[in-house]
Amino acid sequence: MNKEEVLKLAKLARVGISNEEAETLSHEFDAILGYVSEIKNAKLEARSKKLEPVLVNVMREDVNPHESGVFTEDLLNEVPNREGSYVKVKKIL
């Protein structure tokens, strides 16, 4: 992987990194991907026999709603920039 590819991935992941870090990461990724790629060539003897899943998706009933507004102030207190009951961000359009 080269530096440009790392910068492109960082952009997709919305993480600002320096050119220098991208360069270092490209070498580290080569080493990590080299290691994890061993599974690509692994013989998967057990794979053909699919495992019966024990765990299945469980949906909770949408019941017992809490009273409207009881968490609002607590949650808004954690917002870095707020204006009244709004979350404030810079102009987007």
Binding site: L25, I32, L44, E45, L55, L75, E78
Partner: protein, 467 residues
């Protein structure tokens, strides 16, 4: 003065009930021990200022009544700070209680503080904490392991009786081994993660760190159980629990060349101890097990890249100023707020999930995860003459020095023995098995799904001989 390092939950509970000391006095002793020792060790990120108030209200007839406990800094305790060892959450205050905190409080425990960890639990040494590393109390030039290194160090140094950690690839068991205590990762689904800051949701579990298997079991019994707030939690009857468990399987093919000679020697010794206790030892072959770590380092970055997308500097946590627009602020916030290992995993996860690579990495890793799970569960299958436990060393080496594993891959390899239990979902416990010089070692017992009880029984058996 009572030495916290010698107290277990059982002995403290007895003393509290006999009136030898009060819950407030016990909590004060822990606070004093923290004050005295933690300047050097740095196990705690914060000692909660309401600890003594909690102690005054503690009902000592409850299972953990009046017992001070530390929680890892990724477990939410309402109105208390929680940062996951990250700058991006440095001043974040929990807006609700995690299920485990609720259960601790219902059991009468005193939550005394939050312990240091690798940022978002990503690491094996606590060197990745944004707030500086924790030192190993046995040898302060060495790491305590990680990511729950703060919890392990707090228990091992006698600052607190027990602690909670979280384990995604060994983050409870590896630091337990490095600091000479007991650490257990429950079956996937046994303990609710509601209110645990997620790293890799298909693998994360909360579990106990304690001085004895009995204490770990007591704490586990308090925190386990089905929870409507975590849909992956399971009931008591999901898996079959076995009895008369005395057969140990040893997968020697899985022991790589990187295994320290002294660690292997200690392991052989431990096998002899089990034989003396009447356990049967069987060599077993688990050919897929060696791929566990590779699977781990595909699935974890993938899940990390998705789980950590929520940190945007808008809803909560750190917000970097000075960008030209919102998207600019977003990049800056995440670039500055996340540490190096977290950035590394987010970007790597983005790669393995990207179009064109998804099948080769993520798809293949999922298939291999099924193969590993099947292989392990077959090895435990009673109708196929399976074993009751699998035994390996917990770690390939004793605690390493700070800075010793500076390239990421060598750090990842520290978890080689602990990762298979997370990949398969099986419960797994590390118990102290001796020393190399003064450095503690651990052995790792892994059992079939839902069989924590047999892990605790064998651990208690082993402790009778080891002590």
């Amino acid at each position: 003065m009572i030495d916290i390092s010698k107290l277990t939950i059982i002995s403290a509970r007895e003393a509290l009930r006999k009136g030898e000391f009060t819950s407030r006095e016990l909590t004060q002793m822990c606070l004093d021990a923290i004050k005295e020792k933690d300047r050097e060790i740095h196990a705690f990120l914060e000692v909660f200022d309401d600890a003594l108030d909690q102690a005054d209200k503690a009902q000592i007839n409850l299972p953990l009544g009046g017992i001070p406990i530390a929680i890892k800094d990724n477990i939410l305790f309402k109105n208390h700070k929680v940062s996951a060892g990250s700058k991006i959450l440095e001043n974040y205050t929990a807006t609700y209680d995690s299920t485990v905190v609720k259960k601790l409080q219902e059991a009468g425990a005193i939550i005394i503080g939050r312990t240091n960890c690798d940022e978002f639990a990503m690491g094996s040494s606590t060197e990745n904490s944004a707030f500086g590393p924790t030192k190993n109390p046995i040898d302060t030039t060495r790491v305590p392991g990680g990511s729950s290194g703060g919890s392990a160090a707090a228990v091992a140094s006698g600052m607190v009786l027990v602690a909670l950690g979280s384990d995604t690839g060994g983050s409870i068991r590896q630091p337990a081994a490095f600091t000479g205590i007991v650490g257990m990762k429950p079956t996937y689904g046994r303990v609710s993660r509601s209110g645990l800051i997620a790293m890799a949701s298909s693998l994360d579990q909360i579990g106990p760190l304690a001085k004895t298997a009995e204490d770990a079991e007591l704490l586990y019994d308090v925190i386990k159980g089905k929870d409507p707030m975590d849909s992956t939690t399971i009931g008591e009857d999901t898996y079959k629990v076995r009895k008369n468990t005395k057969t140990i399987g040893v997968p020697r093919d899985f022991f790589s060349d990187s295994l320290d000679k002294k660690v292997l020697e200690n392991f052989e010794n431990s096998l002899e101890q089990f034989k003396k206790l009447g356990y049967k030892i069987k060599d077993i072959k688990l050919p897929h097990l060696k791929y566990s770590l590779a699977v781990y380092y595909i699935l974890v970055p993938a899940e990390v890249s998705s789980n950590l997308a929520r940190f945007d500097g808008v809803k909560y946590g750190f917000h970097a100023e000075g960008g030209e627009n919102s998207i600019d602020d977003y990049f800056k916030t995440r670039g500055l707020g996340f540490g190096r290992e977290v950035r590394r995993r987010i970007i790597l996860g983005t790669y393995v999930l990207s179009s064109g690579y998804y099948d080769a990495y993520y798809g293949q890793a999922q298939s291999m995860k099924s193969a590993i799970t099947k292989e392990l569960r077959d090895a435990f299958n009673p109708s196929a003459d399976g074993v009751d436990f699998i035994l390996t060393p917990t770690t390939p080496t004793p605690a390493f020095k700070f800075g010793e594993k500076s390239d990421p891959l060598s750090m990842y390899l520290a978890d080689i023995f602990t990762v298979p239990a997370n990949i398969s979902g099986c419960p797994s416990i590390s118990i102290p098995s001796g020393f190399v010089g003064k450095l503690p070692l651990g052995i790792l017992l892994t059992a079939d799904m839902g069989n924590e009880s047999v892990l605790f029984e064998a651990s208690k058996d082993f402790e009778t001989i080891a002590n």
